[in-house]
């Protein structure tokens, strides 16, 4: 595919050919989708949440469908930081695409440990701190709901990271801007939002939750308006780069997120229904720029704000 300079965006640590990346947990470590299309088409790749040591994840069922969305409670199944460094990142290194390494943990030391293990990997462009995984006990969600804890964790990670650090914000809070400001104050280089919304479903036949984990994270088009609102709000209080996500399915959705104030976007659940969602959107973006009469995609950033 031809490179289109009108789509190139540069975020801290992430020089992107276009503003699109698959979201963490929706692309594993790229091997499967690499069989379907050339990963070089992507702007960046956010890899599956990585913990200090390997995790097996939750019992099944791990997913349940919901109106225009899905609940998942995978539980951070991953091979652990060393496994990711030694087995997964070298595969992705064969592509000219920066990696956004998603980091999860139960304790601050675990986050620090993961970052130390991965920070020297040449293709890791930046880290994304998952302070909002709803699916594991002590899965970091505590860090995502308390501004002071989020700031402290950000500081500790920044101390050991040689790469820019993005903090992935949880929507399961009363005021997302308070967390955004707190992590910015602690030195975050960027933000990504939103993570999934906590939800559940109950089976009327068994009278039990559908998910073995009882609750899970809601994703898909159902959460798009919430994501847009939170991004819109956060953009009012910070100029940090924002990677936006939450129900993006189409090129039009990408434009809408740009207008709400993001610098780049991540596509999550849409990969599951359409494995070609990312390359399809990327190929459609130039025509949309022409339709909108903008010379570069970054010119759309935050242009959807109400006139003051």
């Amino acid at each position: 595919m031809m490179r289109d300079p009108r789509l190139e965006v540069t975020l801290p640590g992430l020089p992107m050919k276009n503003p699109l990346m698959p979201a963490s947990g929706c692309f594993a470590f790229g091997r499967e989708y690499a069989e379907l299309y050339d990963l070089n088409e992507l702007g960046a790749i956010a890899i599956k949440g990585t913990t200090g040591t390997a995790r097996l994840g939750n019992p099944t069922p791990r997913v349940a469908e919901t109106p225009s969305g899905m609940l998942n409670a995978i539980g951070l199944q991953n091979p652990g930081a060393k496994g990711v460094r030694d087995e997964e990142l070298p595969f992705l290194e064969t592509y000219d695409v920066p990696v956004l390494a998603n980091v999860s943990g139960s304790r601050p030391e675990e986050y620090v440990d993961v970052v130390k293990t991965l920070t020297d990997a040449p293709n890791v462009g930046a880290f994304e701190l998952n302070i909002s995984c709803p699916n594991v006990k002590e899965g970091g969600i505590h860090f995502g709901t308390d501004p002071a804890a989020a700031a402290e964790l950000t500081k500790e990670v920044k101390r050991v990271s040689t790469k820019p650090v993005y903090v992935k914000l949880s929507p399961n809070v009363t005021d997302v801007t308070a967390i955004a400001r707190a992590v910015e104050g602690a030195g975050a280089d960027g933000l990504s939002l939103i993570n999934t919304l906590l939800g559940t479903r109950i089976d009327w036949e068994t009278r039990k939750p559908v998910l073995a984990n009882e609750k899970g994270g809601l994703s898909g088009p159902a959460i798009k308006p919430i994501a847009l609102r939170m991004i819109y709000d956060v953009r009012q209080v910070t100029d940090l780069p924002i990677i936006g996500m939450g129900g993006i399915q189409s090129t039009e959705d990408v434009i809408e997120f740009m207008l709400a104030g993001v610098d780049a976007v991540a596509v999550g659940t849409a990969n599951f229904s359409n494995p070609f969602a990312c390359p399809n959107i990327i190929r459609e973006l130039p025509a949309w720029l022409e339709r909108l009469g903008v010379e570069h995609i970054r010119h759309l950033r935050g242009q959807g704000e109400a006139a003051v």
Binding site: G25, L56, E65, S68, S273, F276
Partner: protein, 259 residues
Amino acid sequence: MKNEKMLIVDNRLIAAGTYEMTLAGTLVSEISRPGAFLHVAVPGEDLVLRRPISIASVDHEGGSCTLIFKDVGAGTERLARCHPGDRVDVLGPLGQQGFPVDEPYAADDVLLIGGGVGVPPLYYAACELAGRGVSVSVILGFQTTSAIFYEEQFRELPGCDVRIMTDDGSYGQKGTVIEAFEERGKRPDWLFSCGPRGMLRAVEKAGMHPHTKGYVSLEERMGCGVGVCLACVCETEDRSSYRKICRDGPVFPFKEVLL
């Protein structure tokens, strides 16, 4: 694997709540393993997850394949209402491990045990085995007469011995496939099974002879269908790790997975 808007050639009710959908498209040429499944998108925008449906038969010359599914919820209900001439968005064929139908010798004793909507991939396996001149014995379990499908199709295969069990005894023999398995008295060289998890556990518990090579096809709620999302995992027998049903399976040796 391809992503294709396949043409619905036929879609008919073949048993209570059970539909047989015939699809035509170029991805048919890639179907080669009994156990393989198609990941079918539900028409409409509001149901975002595809439905994994195993392939019951394939006609490479005619460029078509058949899927059998049960109407069990909003998604399958919508698929049941599709008409010939409609198109459905299909991803597939998926699954990297199917039933090893190329391995049994003609003289081997091959037993297929299926329950309910677990029967379709066994029919595909039986067709392949019959095509290689391998005779198979089939034990099929259904709840009741109205739920039975494909009995005739199995009987038409050369050398295929079919036994039908029903829970209520309204057809065939009253009882479970396990009873038929035990009555059969000898342990097969090969055993391929697919059906409800409880049935598969019972088959395993009924005792597989050490020399029996047993394979089981599993189903689970799926997300992506290609091994990315880690939704449809199953534990290994030693409980030390997981296998992805969609990608590593859906067929596994009995001894590899914890049922």
